[in-house]
């Protein structure tokens, strides 16, 4: 058995044991299932947030982007990281005080209408499902590549384990899986970075000089992909604000006992993610410096075998042979499992809490029935994610990731922010803002190069930019404002209540 397979099996056994333990400790009802009874400490939730957020894309994808495009990866990292303090300042404490773990739940506290609940649920579920499909398709390809499994088997294994964690142990088990994975990720990243620095005599400057010797000084500047100023600004808006609308991140603030612990969670998560991004910079430029002399790692076209996402794994093999390579592969596997489990839980919360309990039963539902439905929702989402991953296996699904982030930034974030901070927001404003955000982000991505050209095969895009957030976010805010200030019914109601 290969070291990668052995370490992955160890991780699975450990985390299944944790899931069994969590299932026994789980309190009654859906609230306990989705919030871990609010008993996590700030540092635990911070570690779990980091584990939830640092996906395979943030590790292998970012290292691969340093390898192919150099500094672009750092531009992505800065935007992604700055979402965290913004999340802390604008939302973390308030979301904990609201004691609601879904967007629809927060909005319904002010506007308990079917339309608002339905819109928020649809937006959250779409974001989660798109994010899940991207992760599952990536997981299938990565696991197939790392362990030599057929794609369908790889996706099925990931799907079954995801369901076991999320349905079996709820948020408590998922949080512990994410914490364990985060620690493994730091161990793995630290080992790789230490290996890279050891080769360069412990000098970071020597590493950069080595990388420049192979790829030139241009590797430390934004590439041609970031040459268009509007595209760069739109990318920045999407990266920073997208985080503030991701349902699986937002729901984690109810897993802690108070707002202080929610603040501590973000503090820990920001510190850990910043540290990991710095470590990944060393790994990425380490790959730039150390992989090119190994001709056996490249195919006839000069491409890295397995694609650029394998840069960190190949670097590990160069530095530490099969054992370190296997460790990195196992950590990548753990990374995938932890992220998809969190996504499945977020999706299930929308189905059971928003659609069933909120929309269908109007809150008249017993906790046991909602919990039962939550577990079935995880299983159904798992099956749907596996089926869609099989259907999309040969498609370019990268646009779905952009779409999930754009939707989160353009629909979920404006509605959440306005409902928490703007007293004049009305239900009509929520609907207008939500529809404008969804329509603009989906429409502009479909009309843009990522879908119109890369997927649909047209020669030129209708909308020239890949990232629509610079346009769709202000449009959503403007629509919510306009919908609210022109809401005569709400004004009449306010007037009559004041009289």
């Amino acid at each position: 058995m290969s070291p990668a397979a052995m370490l992955s099996i160890l991780f699975v056994l450990l985390t299944l044991g944790v899931t069994r333990w969590a299932a026994r400790r789980q309190g009654d009802g859906a609230m306990a299932f989705f919030t871990a009874d609010g008993r996590l400490a700030g540092w635990q939730n911070g570690l779990a947030l980091a584990g939830d957020y640092l996906s395979a894309a943030a590790f292998l994808g970012a290292a691969g982007l340093y390898f192919t495009s150099g500094y672009d990866s750092a531009v992505y990292a800065v935007g992604t990281l700055f979402g965290w303090p913004l999340l802390l300042i604008l939302l973390a404490g308030r979301l904990r005080d609201e004691r609601e773990y879904t967007l629809a739940g927060v909005l319904a506290k002010r506007f308990d209408t079917r339309a608002v609940r339905g819109l928020a649920a649809a937006s959250s579920l779409t974001v989660t499902l798109f994010y899940l499909i991207v992760q599952m398709v990536g997981a299938g390809k990565l696991v197939a590549l790392l362990f030599g499994l057929p794609y369908a088997a790889a996706v099925s294994v990931v799907g079954v384990l995801m369901v076991l964690y999320a349905a079996g142990g709820g948020m408590l088990a998922t949080s512990w899986v994410q914490m364990i994975k985060a620690m493994l990720l730091f161990g793995c990243g630290g080992a790789l970075a230490a290996g890279v620095l050891a080769v360069h005599g412990g000098s970071v400057a020597a590493l950069f000089a080595d990388a420049a010797a192979h790829s030139g000084q241009a590797i430390f500047l934004p590439s041609r992909a970031l040459a268009d100023p509007v595209e760069v600004l739109s990318l920045g808006v999407g990266l920073v604000l997208g985080l503030l609308g991701l349902p699986h991140v937002l729901m984690r603030f109810v897993t802690v006992p108070n707002a202080r612990a929610a603040h501590r969670s973000v503090l820990w998560a920001t510190g850990l993610i910043a540290l990991f991004f710095a470590i990944n910079m060393v790994i990425g430029y380490g790959a730039v410096a150390l992989l090119p002399p190994h001709a056996e790692l490249f195919d006839a076209a000069g491409k890295l075998v397995g694609g650029s996402n394998m840069a960190a794994v190949q670097l590990a093999r160069v530095l530490g042979g099969a054992v370190l390579g296997g460790f990195v592969a196992a950590v990548a596997f753990a990374t995938i499992l932890a992220v998809v489990a969190g996504l499945a839980l977020a999706g299930a919360s929308v189905v059971s809490h928003d659609l069933y309990a909120g929309l269908l039963r109007r809150g008249r539902v017993d906790a046991a029935a909602e919990l039962k439905l939550a577990r079935w929702a995880v299983i159904a989402l798992g099956a749907l994610a596996v089926a869609l991953s099989l259907a999309f296996q040969d498609q370019n699904v990268a646009f779905l990731f952009g779409l999930a982030f754009a939707l989160a930034a353009s629909s979920n974030f404006p509605l959440l922010l306005l409902s928490l901070f703007w007293p004049k927001l009305t239900a009509r404003g929520v609907i207008a803002g939500g529809i404008a955000g969804i329509a603009a982000s989906v429409g502009l991505i479909v009309a843009g190069p990522a879908v119109w050209v890369a997927v649909l095969g047209f020669k030129a895009p209708l909308f020239p930019y890949t990232n629509p957030a610079l346009f769709s976010v202000p449009l959503a805010f403007a629509a919510a404002w306009l919908g609210s200030v022109t809401d005569r019914a709400a004004r009449r109601a306010a007037l009559s209540s004041s009289l």
Binding site: A74, V78, F82, L88, A205, F220, L226, V232, G236, H263
Partner: protein, 67 residues
């Protein structure tokens, strides 16, 4: 303090993406063997974390005071 943190945060991120978008050449060059662009990115990581520390402390003190 929250407003200061928010303004500082937005100024930093807007400034960085503004430089990447309109004047990427400002990121060229090196400081003691480290590329300027890398130093800037690492400094922003550190500043982002520093803002979270600053805000979290101020918010906790504010909540205690409110109680």
């Amino acid at each position: 303090m929250p407003r200061f943190c928010l303004i500082l945060l937005l100024a930093l991120v807007a400034g960085y993406y503004g430089v990447v978008a309109f004047a990427p050449s400002l990121l060229a060059g090196s400081l003691s063997g480290w590329p300027v662009s890398i130093v800037v990115a690492l400094a922003l990581f550190a500043l982002g974390f520093a803002i979270t520390v600053l805000y979290a402390r101020a918010a906790d003190v504010g909540r205690k005071g409110a109680k």
